[in-house]
Symmetry: C2
Subunit: 349 residues, 2 copies
DNA sequence: ATGACCCCTGGAACCGGTTCCAGAATCCCG
DNA sequence: CGGGATTCTGGAACCGGTTCCAGGGGTCAT
């Protein structure tokens, strides 16, 4: 209700002095500043944001786009962003943009053009040419999380390396029949580096001379998705692998549940490794590569703020380290099991 | 870049006429309107939202507060809200407010006062006296989802009835030792009607003359939380119940996994029923009470829009129906199992 | 004593729209 | 043909802040 004019009047100064006193820019004597502050507090003055934005061109808001919310990774990133923005008193405008959806088109065509935020954090978004064009036209800083470099600012784990380490861990335990579970054939639609993880798996298999036996079984990137695909994969004893790399923990956990249902003991007869260190990983004793998406969200905000404070600041590409966390879902290959498919522990296919 | 003055000039009219033509209010001849529209399109004109807000007092934004994001219910509600707002070209400002957190205080003290949104949707929030006061001072429409009546506008399932139906289902199958699993003692901190669900369970037990054997085992309202509590509860054969009501599906699924680990067959030796119809329910054959939080989110937006269109519109209290979905986690009580704890199928404690 | 410079303050312009108001043109009806 | 209602348009005020600019007073060095 009370405007800055009211505050100024109460403090016995002009609007301009009141403004300077409250924003802290320009010369104001200490005594005057205090008087203005007291008056503002007494009146419960809160600046009208639209008026401030209109003249300063800053909205104190950052936009966040993500394809989905009900997956652990995205929810965690979002919470991290939220925390970091709260500290800086920024608002967060959220836009859902599932791949190939009308919502995604709307976001890029209309909402971006409204420029209601000072910068954008794109989580798990791989922009196509048209979208990239809109992003450039947007003209404000953009930082990517969890995958593709939208701008040049980005933060993620090294997905390829993570998958390679996961695969090498299994190979080191003597496994030769290792399947990569989850995601679409080319990593599309999954929108968070599933394609690069698959590439990491493939290169690890190739380096071990197992290129020919590399196998990718597709599934939705969810726990039920992993479960369904694993039931099918593990159901047939003749093609059953001795180990699985899950594209993420949700899929890996789904596979563990499938194995239990089928009476296949983990890790004795089947080793499973995931990527994420999901909240469920501990409960299922899942060996996995840890990442902390919450931190990634915070880091993204940090990067964005640097860019906002100084538009000429250099861009950054942050890789979060992803240490291997060994629990109890992986074990040395079981000779009996591998014998069935004719590969000894020392064989190299 | 181009302002409405540029559009007006290009169309050969005044600013005011251009404004009327574009907003569609007031008299403008059809021919002029078309000329203005064409000019706006040619220049790629997009109105500056802060200027519009400043003069109209509307922000075209709604605020959403929720205590958490990485739980299915909240993520689903949020997606529903998102969808509905997108259709109306509204922006969504998200605020995380875990119970008793600094973020929650910030939200109520500072962000609410900024009035950067036209209305608020509070999901799973039980405001205390101070918070309620701030909400009133906010002076704009508020609608609650999933529990407590923040304003008078609210949408949720009838939590008490849902829990009663779940419990009755088990009682109807002959179970007498039925435990309610999950949540804090008085339903606090869980912030989505866990307290009322517990009350529903208690009243069903009372009506069946089993008041004395009603038991509430606490746990965090997550799958690992339910798992941990169930391992402990089911570990001791002497106090093991024959059936469980989970405060929500996540907890119920955790309990099913715990039972499997302990070698207790579900549903033969233990019946489990949940509330939610979570994405995982099908995978675990969980009998549950269905709710569709996505729809609840949409409904909340609808309610808010009514209130925005007409501030004097009557308030609404929407209850979504929650049908029982019978899958394969519940079965008639096993006489042998109940015999162990000395209660026959016909006994009444 | 006279600038040069810094500190402090108020008046006025400005950000980019919407809306009020007055006036002109057209229409309809008596 | 006169007059009131209706349609259309432009000028100006306004929303609520920030910022530019000019000016007064004090300090310090020349």
């Amino acid at each position: 209700m009370a405007g800055i004019a009211d505050v100024a009047r109460a403090a016995g100064v002009s609007k301009s002095t009141a403004s300077r006193a409250l924003t802290g820019s320009g010369y104001v004597s200490a005594a005057t500043r205090q008087r203005v502050r007291d008056a503002a507090a007494a009146l419960g003055y809160v600046p009208t944001t639209s008026a401030v934005s209109l003249v300063t061109g800053r909205t104190q808001t950052v936009g966040v786009v993500m394809p989905s919310l009900d997956r652990w990774f995205f929810a965690q990133v979002l919470e991290g962003i939220q925390d970091a923005l709260l500290e800086r008193r920024y608002d967060l405008a959220l836009y859902g943009a599932p791949p190939e959806s009308a919502a995604r088109r709307e976001m890029f065509e209309h909402f971006l053009a409204r420029k209601r935020f000072d910068g954008l954090i794109a989580v798990g978004i791989e922009p196509n040419a048209r979208e990239l064009e809109r992003l450039v036209a947007f003209g404000k800083p953009v930082v990517a999380v969890g995958g593709y470099d939208v701008g040049t600012n980005a933060v993620s784990i090294d997905d390829e390396a993570a998958a390679r380490i996961a695969t090498d861990h299994l190979l080191g335990l003597g496994h030769r029949e290792v399947v990569f579970l989850g995601g679409a054939p080319d990593g599309r639609h999954t929108s968070f580096g599933a394609g690069r993880r698959l590439a990491g798996y493939r290169s690890a298999m190739r380096d071990a001379g197992l290129e020919a036996s590399a196998r990718h079984v597709q599934s939705e990137v969810t726990m039920p998705g992993g479960y369904g695909a694993a039931v099918e994969l593990l159901g047939d004893r003749r093609t059953r692998p001795t180990a699985l790399v899950g594209v993420c923990d949700e899929v890996a956990v789904g596979a563990i549940i499938a194995a239990r249902r089928l009476g296949i003991r983990v890790p004795e007869r089947l080793s499973v490794v995931g990527i994420d260190d999901h909240a469920y990983a501990d409960m299922f004793s899942l060996t996995t590569l840890q990442q902390r998406p919450h931190q990634q969200g915070r880091a993204a905000v940090q990067l964005l703020m640097w860019q906002l404070d100084d538009p000429d600041a250099p861009a950054h590409r942050l890789y979060e380290s992803s240490p291997l966390v060994v629990r109890n879902s992986t074990a040395p290959v079981d000779d009996d099991a591998s014998a069935i498919i004719g590969v000894g522990p020392l064989g190299t296919a």
